[in-house]
Symmetry: C2
Subunit: 248 residues, 2 copies
DNA sequence: GAACGTACTGTCAGATATTACAGGTACAGC
DNA sequence: GCTGTACCTGTAATATCTGACAGTACGTTC
């Protein structure tokens, strides 16, 4: 990994064809910017109750296992922040003071694995993916803040390209679920369904029979593999199949 | 505007309290990186059929008016790309060759207003917002490519902070719609509704009466101001009120 | 103590969705 | 000419949702 120029790492991501390769590239960027650890995680909304997770971990194995076993994702303040925001979050051991007890305990345990400070970059996609990349180090105080500030501009860009690469590499896998293609009429009927229109109302809007609207929505349910209209609507919206219009 | 350091512009965005101020900051960054024009646009999904749009324009007024009058958003290749992707898009007059006729005409008309090349940064949020920032110039060839490459890292970060600032500045306005808060039970019932469960099925899962599930979902409909369950589901998902879980 | 929010439950009529059956036209590619 | 796809329509039984009626219980705030 020799990437003095920012764009070389970006190109490397664009060409990567395996998870191992992505891991190597991340490790390189991590090290070059003065961090010791990195971790990338993505949540793909195949289902709301049980989404699909992808991780590329440069964290200590023991910490990862402990983290998973305790379901720390629901506590981890960086995950909570990144799930809601689009700008990076810098964090350090100041978070040991203040905040809820479980968060203090979490941060304290991370510290035992040499993770004192870092920065996390969130990514959200129109397909409903949520991903984040964290760089971490054992540094504290001004020393850590300097590293964080330096990595900010590249980090945000890098995370976007990284997630794009992950989706490409995992193409054959679960990610393909969001590639259902609906016909024009199916999309139209679904769009009006998301607007709360009944089949009859939609039939008036599209000037077709109520039965035809039902027919199209049935086909949508089949294609999306769902049980009823509300689930079809939920999945279509979360997968970005139905987007807000650009008209007016 | 004196922002040799990247982070100064970021801080400036974080403190900005008016659209005019945001306009000034954008214009500064634009100029410093060798571009002549910029435009920021955001789509807030208040409704799927008629979402809310926000623009901060540093484009020629005549071009903007022409663009709006012809509803060019549905043609503009940068908008189409950014709506689907998370990485920046560089564009230049090469797009005059190839592609659909209406796109060639569009690019050709933009050229008449001194817009030959540029770069567009997309942003998607967990609340379903879609925003993009474009920097444009009259330059062509290698000269334009150099400017674009230089602005890439900061641009992605800047766009994220810009959109965050826009949401803050517009807080009192339409943006506040996504701040409906539902009770725990309401969220639970809604979550299972997005999974295609009927009221009876949800009642079995939560160990309550079917009638109670209906009751909660009715309250959700009231709070979200919608007519039926599928619209409630669509809005809750698109506003990020119901997110995929982190369990397991 | 009253007012309020949250959670919970019941009945019942009418509207809407789901699922089964059945059938049709138009167009593109082989 | 055959095959496949998109698009369209109808009837009918059953399941589910919607909306309006009417309540109880518990905890917090004023």
């Amino acid at each position: 990994m020799d990437a003095t120029n920012s764009l070389e790492v970006i190109d490397a991501l664009a060409e990567a064809e395996s998870v191992d390769r992505l891991h190597t590239i991340c490790a390189g960027v991590c090290q070059e910017h003065g961090f010791e650890r990195f971790i990338y995680g993505a949540r793909i909304p195949t289902s709301f109750v049980k989404p699909y997770f992808i991780f590329i971990s440069g964290y200590p194995r023991e910490w990862r296992e402990h983290y998973t076993a305790n379901n720390y994702m629901v506590i981890d303040p960086t995950v909570q922040y990144c799930a809601q925001n689009i700008t990076p979050m810098a964090w350090d051991d100041d978070m040991l003071t203040g905040g809820r007890a479980e968060i203090r305990r979490f941060m304290s345990e991370a510290r035992d694995f040499g993770i004192n400070s870092g920065v996390s970059f969130p990514i959200h996609t129109s397909q409903g993916d949520f991903a984040m990349l964290s760089f971490a180090s054992g540094k504290t105080g001004p020393q850590s803040r300097t590293c964080i500030q330096r990595v900010l501009p590249l980090g945000q860009l890098f995370t976007a390209y990284l997630h794009e690469a992950v989706r490409r590499v995992f193409d054959a896998d679960v990610v393909a679920l969001s590639k259902v293609d609906l016909t024009q009429r199916e999309k139209e009927c679904l769009l009006w369904a998301t607007e709360g229109k009944t089949a009859w109302e939609t039939s008036q809007i599209l000037s077709i029979a109520e039965r035809t609207v039902t027919f199209h929505l049935q086909n949508v349910q089949g294609k999306l593999g769902v049980n009823n209209r509300q689930q079809a609507v939920a999945r279509a919206v979360s997968l970005g199949i139905i987007e807000p219009q650009f008209n007016q």
